[in-house]
Amino acid sequence: MRFDLNDEQRAIKDAIREVCDARASRGEGAETDGAFWSELAKSGWTQMAVPQEFGGQGSGLLELSLVLEEMGRALVGGAYLGHAAAAVLIAASGDEQQRPRWLPGLATADGRAALGQAHNGGALLVDASGAALAVIAGPETAAVLDPVPGALNEAASLDVTRTLHRVESAGAERLRGDVDRGLDRAEVLLAAELVGVAQRAMELAVEHASNRQQFGRPIGAYQAVSHRCADMLVQVESARSAVLSAAWTADHEPEQLPFAASVAKVTAASAAWQVAAASLQVHGGMGFTWEYPIHRYLRRAAAGARLLRSVDHHLDRIADQNGLGAEAVAAGAVQPAYAVP
């Protein structure tokens, strides 16, 4: 029992942080950034999520989560989430025919995949321009749209670091395996990205609170600000614990994943939005300007929290798993279903 990263995991985290920080320091335009994607592909980062038997690196979900947290923190490489999520979805929820058909392409430099959300009979694709294929997720389904049509109908994206397109999903082929398994794994990656968003939003708040003077003191000396920051820390660390645990669980105790993934999504989605909103408040008027980065985090948090299945969906599942499900009622169970090691 050791809840800390091993040397290899730390090395991954340090390496991707360096890559992301370097990209972030080059300024705006980080969104759907072909050059950055090529850089990531060249160094093999984009192959991590593809199983080895299909030409990828077959990294664990824990390692992928470390990458995604750093990307969320630096708010770069937005397309990476969709690609990695699509890969784990096809790998976990595709059947014997589907996996060899699509996964090898995802391990190649020009085989980028995008993620889409079923919506109003069609789908909304995230960062789809230039993607070879897309996986469209619904609350209980996932389907592969191959190829992504050349002419895409652009929609206004709340998350300004990502593009959004509307497509017909009629031609998409449903993944025929265990869809929940793939969705849960994708949720963990999304949650990891949201932890990075929350982390950076907190850092910005703490930095501002330490420097900004009002009434003769740095505002971080006032409890209205400092306690707000402390609450951010509680949320960020809790979400990080939940994501690390869910990612580890996916890799090692997959039968426990449904609970762990729901906990990760709920905590990370709440943390990202609440921390970003609180950070904006700490920044005062400055936080409300377009030029200052906090709103990009806020938008990522708002949209990200609503990708894949909703928080309410997860809460309902958690209630079902913990004594309020139909089976529990039938069995008269009192003990929670979940087992502590």
């Binding site: 959004l164 009434f215 005062g284 300007t289 609503r306 909703s310």
Partner: protein, 376 residues
């Protein structure tokens, strides 16, 4: 206690309602500048009908409306979804400060043109380093022949590029804090004044930055005494629009009506969790309305008190909670930014900052209403 309108108040309401029915200018243009022109025309319409300054005393061209009538007027404007007049800062702040602290010459010079909308006003209090701590302005006023030269930067001024006059605070001496500021009315149409739009997180530019580089203000445009600007500014900030609580509650009610529709469209009107979150918003809206009316009764007994902070805190957090619920119920549409609710979600984040942060409002309640010790 009587929560019904008196026969006179009912007549007044019916008059306003009928007039708005006849004179509503129709849907507002989206474009910011066109929207401003539209609101300027609307102010002229209001002015011609005698409604531009209903709160102003008759001697200054207003209608001398009672507090309740002002509240009724504000509510009817919201109910009709009528736009705000363009010169709103002149009407609720510039005019009142001139009436309270200006000379007779200043009253003659400024008041009529505020009402008519011929001269628009903006406000220069906030600075990059003077946010909640308004008294720490760095903008300096240097003595010059016949007046003052102003240099510095102001932020968060709305419609500065359309304004003729800017009321501003500047540091006129090296005296003690709160005793080194003067209240100026600065002509915006001169070299030495540069206006830059300030883009907000919504993508709009409701606000501007103003850069003053030796802009001239003649002595006759100083309000009150030199170095007494802080007291005047403080009084200015206390000018509240009576019934604002009730009017903003009504505006939220209208949006809650839309939200109920959104909930039904998404098939969530049977979801107990959504229903109760929604009901709590309705409850909070109603208490804002009632607190607003109660504040009115107190205001009638003297100067409006710091209790306005209660409504301000509630309104900000209610707006934020309402837009979050709307976002939670609309499913995948939440990914898109071109919806009214996406705009409102982002815009609402400023509600707990603009017009005094919720933290400052809580300080006010703690210190001035509850008489708790201040942090020194």
């Amino acid at each position: 206690m009587d929560l019904t309108l008196s026969p006179e108040e009912l007549r007044f309401r019916d008059e306003i309602r009928a007039w708005l029915d006849q004179n509503h200018p129709g849907p507002a243009p989206q474009d910011t500048e066109q929207n401003f022109d539209f609101r300027l025309a609307w102010q002229r319409t209001l002015h011609e009908a005698g409604y531009a300054g209903i709160a102003w005393p008759r001697e200054y061209g207003g209608r001398g409306a009672t507090l309740v009538e002002q509240a009724i007027f504000n509510e009817e404007m919201v109910r009709a979804r009528a736009p705000a007049p363009a010169n709103i800062l002149g009407l609720i702040m510039g005019g009142p400060v001139v009436m309270a602290h200006g000379t007779d010459d200043q009253k003659r010079r400024f008041l009529a043109r505020i009402l008519s909308g011929d001269e628009l006003w903006c406000q220069g209090f906030s600075e990059p380093d003077a946010g909640s701590d308004l008294a720490s302005v760095r903008t300096r006023a240097e003595r010059a022949e016949g007046g003052w030269r102003i240099s510095g930067q102001k932020v968060w001024t709305s419609y500065a590029h359309r304004a003729k006059w800017c009321m501003l605070l500047a540091r006129s001496s090296d005296g003690a804090r709160y005793r080194n500021l003067t209240y100026f009315i600065c002509d915006m149409r001169q070299d030495g004044v540069t206006v830059r739009p300030l883009r907000q997180i919504t993508g709009e530019s409701e606000f501007n930055e103003i850069f003053f580089d030796g802009a001239f203000v003649p002595d006759e445009n100083v309000i009150g005494s030199v170095d007494d600007g802080w007291n005047i500014a403080l009084a200015t900030l206390m000018f509240e629009r009576p019934g604002l609580g009730a009017a903003s509650a009504l505006a939220i009610r209208l949006q809650l009506g839309e939200l109920a529709g959104l909930i039904r469209q998404n098939g969530l009107d049977d979801d107990a969790s959504v229903r109760r979150r929604f009901a709590r918003l309705v409850v909070e809206t109603e208490t804002i309305r009632l607190n607003g009316y109660r504040g009115l009764a107190r205001a009638g007994e003297g100067v409006p008190g710091p209790e306005g902070s209660i409504v301000k805190i509630q309104w900000a957090s209610l707006n934020q909670a309402m837009t979050e619920l709307a976002f939670d119920v609309q499913g995948g549409a939440a990914l898109e930014s071109d919806s009214t609710w996406a705009y409102r979600l982002l815009r609402a984040r400023a509600n707990s900052i603009e017009g005094g942060t919720s933290e400052i409002q809580r300080n006010i309640l703690a210190e001035r209403v509850l008489q708790l010790p201040r942090l020194r």
